[in-house]
Assembly symmetry: D2
Homo-oligomer: 359 residues x 4
């Protein structure tokens, strides 16, 4: 495993789905930053499971304990470590999965890599549960960025057949972020959220799961951040976002849609607006040459449906090397897309804050 | 800039479009590997400009000089450095662009980041020219991987409205790679290539440019390679592929299409085939949990149209901070997608070889 | 702060002297390694304070809790995190030190770096207390190395005027290690230890402190480990050993003594011994060209006397920017050299195991 | 090999003693820095061989060609690469050494590590020749630091039995640096240099070699630079200085001498001098807790005698695995200590500039 990310700040994520605790160490955080623990808890709560009928029934308080790195609530320059105890690690039987890997889950690849020694319970270190410490670190970065006038917000763009509106890439603003936060699901258009919920419940009922797309915007980032060729903003965000389980694609600005476009249509014309240089469109997603240009940074991340489903599937017996079938009983998560929204925000915040410090 | 990539091998790319030379240093290459310089030249030739009527008219021999790292054609364990002299660095006038940035080009972002000191000639270090050393390093990695039974090949999936067939993700094989190599353009279906050429020539005639999508496959990779959460195969490939100028999106397996899919459809069922564990479909693109599962690794990269076009565009004067228009004269590249194919293969080879060594 | 070390394994150390807890995260540890927790506790106990009359009176159980990274006592490939609760963090008054920095302590430099926000209590993250997690990580590496036939042992070579014998660099063996472990202080010659204890008690009585030198040997390391120019064995060991508070010098083989030597005397002649290539002397300390040569790796680390003493010293008031005097009351550590021995072993083990994995 | 160093700037050194060229790539150099090429040549000339009768007779012009990274002599933010052609790579016969390794040279360790594929000619990548690109990179860093008021200078403290005065650690100044530069050998006391020259010539006459100690001082560094625990100033300088061939020890401030000292003697008392906080002594060598305290940074590096000597030595035949003797004909270097002085300055400059940028 290699669960360390970053250059100026180094985020080390640790823990397994059913280990006594999970957490994150943030090395390199500047001193003198006041943290708002209530705000952090509220942010992490958006990710934690067990709150409603459209996610896993596992219940976790996700109470972050900061065991070092602060003095009286202010960062002191020492590494800051957050520990989160696992409280609902049920002793359900995972032995079946040790011999019969779940299709499209990490089970088989991990079995080969770790020679059968990986922690299979609840997905071990591959579990979506590890996004809790990601959100702890990201929540801290979000607070710091906000105090510098940089705000990040994501919404569900699609799940199954239900689609929300896209951000207006050149014009996205805090007003949109506010609108998203006021809806039951994180979407721009409330009805889109209702349709999404229905899609998720349908999948759940069938013991199935569905994927989705999350769109994320960061506004207020100054121009000139990012280090091409390999630590540009796209490289940095991509490297961390693919660390969120189930992500299979990422695009910036108009991304894949640019492929069918002409330069004359795709280019973002410059203009001067009250003494500031802006672009009329933002097909670049706020990034040119790997460097921010001062416009909102926009990206989309594609999530595959969670591979762990309640429907019988073809699999193999690793020990007997023969075909078999797999039917998983017990709780499963029909759709992670709602809880993935803060994870994407957290990942973006970590990447952007690290790039910002590295300027 | 941060043009260093890799963990076990460290690739440092250097040079500007119009500097005396460009090149790459590869640190950490194992000793005892025999390099085929003719094969490397053939590979690099696929990327070099000036060969036909659908790319820039700049002519570069792209002759790689290995100035160290080998003894009698065999790697000696010391860093291997390739230097490529720039021979057709025309003294055309770039001073216009210093004050009037090209829309969607790196000009403005670089101006802010480097306080006006960046090399504007030919795009400086942001130029597509820097993919020549990327291909030099990648060409070496491709040779090494091939000798271990791992083969990588990419094709143009789309440019403008012209589309090639997709790879059969579970069944892609060397036969497909051979077919691609035999077509005038790197496509599976020759007629798709002809249509693409027409699209490119149309754009060229208008002084415009078009984007495209490249699909890449790696076959023969053993299961168990990759280091989640942040150095998994997807993270690693994404980090390097976004280092290729103009890339705005990447997806693995069925990527964004998975978002609208059910788990029961998207999961890849396991089966045993002559004693080997395989999956019937390969929607995972050969990667689960960030680790290879032994199936072909498949990804797609989206390229925006080159921002440098011959059509008049809106821009600003940086010195006067007012709106203006920009009309670029001189050669421009209507479409980089053909020459980008070996770049994508090179990037994939570097990432996969580095991950392979890091296992 | 930058408390992350390593390439194949990444050690992140966290905590402050008086924070709720301290600990270490080890990322990249191979799967399938059985850990002996009793052996780890015994090793860590050698470092922990409060056991005798020659160290600080702070009492810490230093009970390591492994909160993740193992399943049934065996590493699972996920990051392994050890948390150690601080139990004897007395609320003594450190406010005096905030304005009046201790001479030669980190106080003033940290004040400037962190703009007054650093944790001053007990030295914060600069405290020798942070060697507890270093020993936790090192103790694990020592166990792994031992199972590969690599053993590491250090002894006090000097403290004040009391000196132990040096290792026979070419002939040092497990017999010597056994002898060291059987003495009350970690020395080769028991009487040297008695003289050292007297030196330490003398210093303690005066409210003063004394420095020392620790010599460390690693036997059983195969030839061919190390990555020059900048990740050779000397570079790697030096980088981590200077992370132990109070270290001001390091030398390998005959080190500084080589400066006055002729090549004909200093070179280690090769010979064949029962089919194995060895050297008759080992002035190189087992390392040539940054790479192990199969002979014992030998180095010495110099520790300055602990700067925190009970004697009145000249200092300044940071707020008033004027001269003043400082007299510290309360417990202080007259000599850290005894407890530093396992720290040096731990650091060596981490560096050598990381280099070993990186081969 | 792992010849990449640094965090904010990444120095990649490449080349072998007898490869067509050697050089260095510097990634991450800020834009807008005007380089003085004449000054760089003068600096590099201090290291280049063939100028006098006390070093190797190999003659190298060491002409640095900057092939990219600058525009009109000013850094442009792109990686800066210096290439130095090898001109006097004589085709003398090194085949003897392939089977009969030189005692205490890298030959044997490299043979094992690279399975016999390493470049043996002239020492390959292990050669002192690789300090030429180190000096190129360091010379550039020295210029940049100087423009920020930070000056670095080293002198020979000892070679064989001849000793120079030590720096006055608290009071060292540009006046001392001037004095050193005006002597024929880089020493504070001219007669010490004469005695050193005699020692070197004596060794040369016997076909032998001698070691030495270099002392280096950096003045003008602000307080607050350095990132403990593992990227403190001592860690950083040690990591790079051990990259200079033949270095076997390093100490900061009074280093090993502190081991026999009391805290009350060793601590550096603070006082206010014209509104600035200073210390009366500087036993800390300008570094406490891994962070600069504003006093001069002082360190010493011990160099072993060059292992390649003209006197017959015991060795082994690697192919026959039996004892033999080795007598090397041809030029050898009796003492590298004079030419090592700029190398130590270069290494210190790179480490300190990188730490400075990383603040």
């Amino acid at each position: 495993m290699s669960s360390v990310y970053g250059k100026k700040i180094k985020i080390s994520i640790f823990g397994q789905s059913h280990s006594p605790a999970i957490g994150v160490n943030i090395d390199g955080l500047p001193a003198g930053i006041k943290l708002d623990m209530d705000e952090l808890r509220v942010f992490m709560k958006r990710r934690s499971p067990g709150k409603d009928d459209i996610s896993t029934s596992r219940t976790e308080a996700d109470e972050p304990e900061i065991i070092c790195g602060i003095v009286n609530g202010v960062t002191c320059g020492a590494p800051l470590t957050v520990v989160i105890r696992n409280t609902d690690a049920r002793s359900s039987d995972y032995s079946q999965l040790r011999d019969t890997p779940r299709p499209s889950h990490s089970d088989y690849a991990a079995h080969v890599k770790f020679n059968g020694n990986h922690d299979i319970s609840g997905g071990g270190h591959f579990s979506g549960r590890l996004t809790a410490p990601l959100c702890a670190a990201g929540g801290i970065c979000l607070q710091i960025l906000k105090s510098s006038g940089i705000n990040i917000c994501a919404h569900i763009l699609q799940t199954g057949d239900a689609k929300d509106d896209s951000f207006d890439m050149a014009g996205v603003s805090l007003k949109d972020f506010m609108a998203i936060s006021e809806n039951p699901l994180p979407v721009l258009r409330r009805e889109a959220g209702e349709k999404m919920k229905q899609e998720i419940l349908n999948a759940k009922e069938k013991g199935d799961s569905i994927g989705g797309i999350i769109e994320c915007a960061a506004v207020g980032i100054p121009a000139g951040i990012g280090d091409p060729m390999f630590d540009g903003i796209e490289n940095r965000i991509a490297q961390i976002v693919f660390g969120i389980p189930a992500v299979k694609g990422i695009e910036f600005g108009n991304g894949f849609a640019a492929a069918g476009n002409f330069g004359s249509k795709n280019n973002d014309p410059f203009f001067v607006d009250e003494g500031k240089i802006k672009t009329r469109t933002n097909n670049s997603g706020g990034i040119t040459g790997g460097i921010t240009n001062g416009m909102p940074v926009i990206f989309r991340a594609a999530f595959k449906p969670t591979p762990s489903i309640g429907i019988q599937q073809e699999s193999v017996s690793l020990s007997r090397l023969e075909n078999t079938v797999l039917k998983i009983n017990g709780r499963h998560d029909p759709c992670i897309i709602v809880r993935a929204v803060p994870c994407v925000e957290a990942a973006a915040a970590i990447a952007l804050y690290d790039a910002y410090l590295d300027r």
